[in-house]
């Protein structure tokens, strides 16, 4: 797992994806921070963090699109799958590489919290709760993106499909409202990533939501492993 993790981290920076990801992340989060927080003269960050959901949604697929699809396209997966490593090591190595990059992005964005702390009164528990929520949201999204990347050989297809899938997750609440069947509607709401994430921006630290995100991450990583395993039997 370590070897694959290190290679992916290198690849992020060599290919430039890391820089694009970080730059776009900082640009938009900077705009939201400036407009929504500094410009309004408030230390209320919930608006900023709820907007961040959209950025994360569109940027995560850029991180994950290549991870599995390129291996298959260039046949480098033959090197990985015939090496004495398990499928979980391969998948988790890649997963944690993407997650690390996401965490780096978030760590730097933490500077906003320090600025706010300097300028005014901040409720630290809420603020930190928000950062944690974003991290776990990213963890779940990365697993989804990685899974979709394992389904195709085309990285653009992987990126677009991941964005669509994540966007559908985002729309889950509004879709649920129009579903007549109460049970289905309830299931859809309970699967909503956005409403769970919003709880944190409102200052509620919901452990069940953390568990939800972690479970989603595990589920999709498991599915990725199954995809790799099934390909051998094809």
């Amino acid at each position: 797992m370590g070897a694959i993790y290190r290679r992916e981290m290198q690849a992020f920076f060599i290919s430039g994806i890391a820089y694009v990801f970080l730059a776009v992340f900082f640009l938009f989060s900077g705009i939201f921070f400036f407009n929504g927080v500094l410009g309004m003269g408030t230390s209320e960050v919930s608006a900023m963090f709820s907007s961040m959901f959209i950025i994360v949604l569109f940027l995560i697929p850029i991180l994950t699109m290549k991870l599995m699809s390129e291996e298959k396209k260039n046949r480098t997966d033959q090197g990985l799958l015939t090496a004495p490593v398990g499928l979980w090591s391969i998948v988790l190595g890649k997963y944690f590489a993407a997650l690390t990059l996401f965490a780096i992005a978030e760590a730097i964005v933490f500077i906003y919290a320090l600025i706010l702390g300097y300028l005014g009164n901040v409720i630290w528990s809420t603020l930190i709760g928000n950062y944690i929520a974003m991290l776990f949201l990213g963890a779940a999204f990365i697993a989804v993106g990685l899974f979709i990347s394992s389904l195709t050989e085309n990285q653009m297809a992987a990126a677009v499909a991941s964005m669509l899938a994540l966007f559908m997750l985002y729309l889950m609440d509004s879709l649920a409202r129009n579903v007549k069947n109460a049970t289905v509607s309830k299931i859809m709401t309970s699967l909503s990533f956005y409403s769970r994430y919003l709880e944190f921006t409102r200052g509620v630290f919901s452990l069940s939501s953390i568990v939800f995100f972690v479970s989603a991450a595990f589920l999709f990583n498991f599915l990725t492993v199954r995809v790799l395993d099934k390909r051998r039997w094809g």
Partner: protein
């Protein structure tokens, strides 16, 4: 070292590999020969655990590849048809990655240096793989397979796409590696397999068409005593032709003589066929000495592996056209107790095949100037 029992792979209705069994002992080089699409790569991918077999068993060093894949894979160095190279890495970074991936416990610096020296890629270690020539990429692929000194090397068409010099280099390297490793090598190029391998398996349409050592296979097909002679007669004119042909025909055991073209000025070639199990070369020599003629060339046109191979491939094109009718007709080759037996070829078909192979040979040697 490697034991394969009744290996079968089915893709839907298509039988890619059908009931293949073989054994490779330690220190042997086994050649897998077959036309494109014969099932060579599929077999190799199963051997290395990249894909699973539909049925059958593969034991690497006694370990079942499906039961304990990690352990079995740790015995294998694999160079797939397309080397698994990351184009945006340097050779050094890539080999270092493979070193970690294979959980190699050898001293990193020294081992990587050894591998690079062996594959002659030391000069390009700092370069991006993307910028390397095809030959170097292939060698990096080979280097990758050698990391961690696996006892088994599986090389899928290691010389494909290389220029003649590089081919010779890689072949020499494989031969050298064969002394310390068990090697399985695939190719659709016959001379390559002949040059490198101790044992040969000819595979066609997913089934083993022939199996044995290179000599065994050749020996079993040398019962057609045909040869081409170039004899310089006494007059150096066309009059020799008849005279020489008649004299040879008069030798005991000669079945058939035909004077051929004038290949050199005033000198003719003769196609001679003797009865089976009769060696006429000595009496032929005596005859020429007696008459004062010179033998300028004597070439036995026994079936070479090339001919077998041509037959197999011809069998394939034949069955392609009748795809909808049942499995491939069993070519004119059958296997008996691991020995290859060529059924006497149809008289009208065999010479054509020989001509073709002679042409191919000529081309390969760059003509005979």
């Amino acid at each position: 070292m490697i034991e394969v029992k009744n290996l079968t792979k089915r893709y839907g209705d298509k039988q890619a590999v059908n009931d293949i069994s073989f054994k490779v002992e330690k220190g042997e080089i086994l050649g897998f020969l077959g036309p494109n699409g014969a099932g060579k790569s599929t077999t190799m991918n199963m051997l290395t655990g990249y894909i699973s077999s539909t049925s059958g068993q593969i034991l690497i060093n006694g370990v079942d590849i499906l039961e304990d894949p990690k352990k079995a894979k740790s015995f294998i160095g694999y160079l797939p048809e397309i080397p698994p190279l990351y184009m945006d890495m340097t050779v050094d970074a890539y080999l270092s990655f493979m070193f970690d991936l294979k959980k190699c416990k050898l001293p990193r610096k020294a081992h990587l240096k050894d591998v690079c020296d062996l594959c002659k890629i030391t000069a390009v270690r700092g370069r991006l793989i993307r910028n390397l020539s095809k030959g170097y990429k292939q060698r990096v692929g080979l280097a990758q397979a050698l990391i961690n000194n696996p006892p088994v090397l599986i090389l899928d068409e290691p010389t494909v796409g290389l220029d003649p010099n590089q081919i010779i280099e890689i072949r020499t390297l494989i031969k050298k590696l064969g002394k310390t490793h068990t090697v399985i090598l695939s190719s659709h190029i016959l001379p390559e397999i002949q040059a490198v391998c101790d044992k040969i398996i000819i595979i066609n349409k997913g089934v083993v068409a022939a199996n044995g050592t290179a000599e065994e296979i050749a020996k079993n097909i040398t019962n057609e005593h045909k040869m081409t002679l170039r004899i310089e007669g006494s007059t150096g004119t066309a009059a020799d032709k008849q005279q020489v042909a008649d004299a040879i025909r008069a030798l005991p055991g000669v079945k058939y003589v035909r004077a051929d073209m004038e290949r050199e000025k005033g000198i003719y070639d003769y196609d001679v066929e003797a009865e089976e199990n009769v060696d006429i070369r000595r009496s032929l020599n005596d005859l020429c000495r007696e008459k004062g003629w010179n033998i300028l060339m004597l070439q036995l046109s026994d079936l070479t592996l090339e001919d077998i191979f041509l037959k197999i491939t011809m069998g394939e094109t034949l069955s392609d056209s009748q795809k909808n009718s049942k499995p491939a007709p069993k070519i004119d080759i059958s296997v008996k107790d691991g020995e290859l037996v060529a059924s006497t070829a149809k008289a009208d078909e065999a010479p054509a095949a020989e001509d073709e192979s002679a042409d191919a040979e000529e081309k390969e040697n760059g003509g005979d100037q």
